[in-house]
């Protein structure tokens, strides 16, 4: 029941591409929001809270995304929570992304020279103002390349979500290739589509980085 590669197969891949974009966007947003929360916990004044954030980051960085997604999809269902595949994938990718982003941002804040903290204190700025006016702008510039670099990784990692049955670009590639037996052409096209998504992101991050450096 296979059929020759037809125009509609490309349409199927484009629909998959749309889902990959949606899933990536949701995962980006989730990772950034959750990442900020984890960053706040990581920089909390209470040692217990800092410790919790530390454990969260390192457990997630040390476990495979595939396992996390399967836990979200099937694990929650075992406790009676019926989570739709794309919801499980979004939550899983966000949790996974937040562990990396908060770590990246924590590093960026630490990378701001200590003299900047001391100088702004000497100027009599409150701790909130010091962070907002002096440290954050500098940390922001430092964090852009690794942040975008990680978001590109996250975008490509959405392909792992196919294991939960989310029909995104990679799953559509499996489906189309097995219905046509045209593995090489289908996967070449899919790699091209992923590249078209990822390259502009990388390019934009480089531009942003240069313009921010100039502004400084």
């Amino acid at each position: 029941m296979t059929h020759p590669l037809a125009f509609h197969d490309f349409v199927v891949l484009l629909v998959g591409l749309e889902w990959t974009i949606l899933l990536s966007a949701a995962a980006f947003l989730g990772s950034v929001i959750l990442g900020l929360v984890v960053l706040a916990l990581r920089r909390s004044r209470y040692a217990v809270v800092r410790m919790l954030a530390f454990v969260f980051i390192h457990v997630l960085q040390g476990t495979p995304l595939l396992g996390l997604l399967l836990l979200m999809f099937f694990g929650l269902a075992l406790f009676g929570y019926d989570v739709a595949a794309w919801v499980a994938a979004t939550i899983g990718l966000s949790v996974y992304g937040s562990a990396f982003l908060s770590d990246i941002w924590d590093g960026a804040v630490r990378a701001v020279p200590k003299g900047q903290w001391e100088a702004s204190r000497a100027l009599g700025l409150s701790s909130g103002l010091r962070f907002r006016l002096v440290i954050l702008p500098q940390a922001f510039t430092i964090s852009i390349p690794p942040t975008v670099g990680f978001l590109v990784q996250l975008l490509k990692n959405t392909s792992v979500a196919s294991i939960t049955g989310v029909v995104e670009l990679s799953r559509d590639a499996q489906i189309v290739s097995s219905s046509t037996f045209e593995f090489f052409r289908v996967y070449a096209a899919v790699c091209g589509l992923y590249f078209l998504l990822c390259y502009p992101l990388t390019w934009y991050s480089r531009r942003l980085e240069t313009s921010l450096k100039k502004a400084r």
């Binding site: 029941m1 269902a77 019926d82 196919s162 049955g165 219905s179 037996f181």
Partner: protein
Amino acid sequence: MSPSRMVLRAALLVVASLLLITAQAPAAKADLLKDILDRGVIRIGTTMDNPPYGSYDAAGKPVGFDIEFGQMIGQAMGVKVEVVSQVMANRIPMLLTKKVDILVSSFGLVPSRALQVMYSEPYTNNLEALWGPASIKITGPNDLGTLKIAAGVGTIQDKALTAMAPKANIVRFDSDATTVTAYVSGQADLMVGPATLAKQVNDAYPQHKLEMKFPLLSGTSHIGVPQGEFTLLQFLNTYIYYLRVNNLLQPLTLKYFGQDLGNLPPF
């Protein structure tokens, strides 16, 4: 209150409410057949990258034996069919976690699987075998040596070959499609799979013509039903018996397998 403290409180609140919901989750033990009839929808798990059982045609419409058979089941029950596209390796978890009501997914017989799910009467038979090019001479499991054999992970043919030849060099893949790719691209010397798959390979790649080396087991397909749902199982068995005794599965079998259903032994 400092921001981190507020976040901490919110997180505690979420955890507490989740625990509360879990504690109150009703231990509902309703009858699945009745649930499906009340709902008016049956959720059928089917693998969509597995022609001729489930795939898409050139117009993007779902086609395949399991798709049409699933529609027939829905019609017989008078309910709508919701096809849930699933991955081969996740078939049993999908059923166990109630994400689908039944599996119509070229689900083959393995005794150990029957400890977790119930099987219906068989509705197809598709010989599972070891396949390879004419240039490789093999007559039985002892001739395999270090030849690389491609197999779909966790499929009945994978389990059967592993039992027959524990030392065989089996390379496992996610689906029949990737298994075929491994063979066609030369990553594997041989492959295991159903006769229908070998026929499709031979149609698509005449230069990589497969011939049967030795049979593994009869590939009967069954409907997978959650453990303990006897009324639903009884309905499905009754329906399959009705189809078989009236020869109503024959057109579907001819259409998708190009051969007779043959003599399916009863369960």
